[in-house]
């Protein structure tokens, strides 16, 4: 399961190293208090669950082909998250660090580009809005 409604267990993701692995790169996306100049109090993550699971599995397969030495674990949280909570975490372990960094970076970039997950930001004045990275480049961050 790549999606979770519970807080992401980073320690569990970190347990991945095998005896031949010398490098672990972990990326964690965290809910920020601001996006494009607007204050954010919380973010609702909504997924097309079964497709998001399938798409992340396809992504994991593609990453295994592109980075054969790397083992990758990913989790994406859905539901209502507060500022400071982890929305996504990706752990990449490999014998050497270059491919751990490269695979981890590729993984988060691809997750953001193709996995059917959406987020609605809530602002201090009670307003809210869906983030559209195609019209607001920094909406793709972190």
């Amino acid at each position: 399961m790549y999606l979770t409604t519970s807080p992401i267990d980073l320690a569990a993701l970190l347990l991945e190293a095998r005896p031949g692995d010398g490098a672990l790169c972990l990326f964690v996306g965290v809910v920020r208090d601001e996006n494009d100049g607007l204050r954010t109090t919380a973010i609702q993550y909504e997924a097309y669950g079964p497709m998001a699971e399938a798409e992340m599995a396809r992504l994991a397969d593609a990453l295994s082909r592109d980075f054969p030495a790397v083992t990758i674990r990913m989790q994406h949280r859905v539901g209502l998250l507060s500022v400071g909570e982890a929305s996504v975490a990706i752990a990449a372990v490999s014998p050497h660090r270059a491919e751990a960094f490269a695979a981890c970076r590729a993984a988060i970039d691809r997750v953001k580009a193709t996995v059917p997950i959406w987020k609605k930001e809530f602002h201090p004045d009670g307003s809210s809005g869906w983030v559209d990275p195609t019209v607001s480049p920094s909406g793709t961050d972190p």
Binding site: Y48, A52, A54, S87, K112, I117, W118, W130, T140
Partner: protein, 81 residues
């Protein structure tokens, strides 16, 4: 034939439901289904071309032919991470 149509995020809010079944003509294309929805939802007419679509939980191109029993979804710009 009959398909299942799912709606998410801003599209769900625009159309006012998250799921429905629809009878459509045999041979209907993904792009043609989008045009039908555009007749019902003003927001959808603002798209110069159909948004990314999924059939049976995989991305497909707009010229894909729909089949009976398909699970179809048009996807607003994704924003995971």
């Amino acid at each position: 034939m009959r398909i299942r149509l799912l709606h998410f995020a801003s599209f769900r809010e625009a159309i006012g439901r998250d799921e429905e079944s629809r009878d459509i003509a045999d041979g209907t294309l993904v792009s043609e289904l989008w045009a039908v929805l555009g007749g019902e939802v003003p927001l959808f007419r603002r798209f110069p071309k159909p948004p990314p679509a999924a059939v049976n939980r995989e991305y497909v191109s707009a010229d894909t032919v729909l089949r009976d029993g398909d699970e179809v979804a048009f996807l607003p710009p994704v924003a995971g991470g």
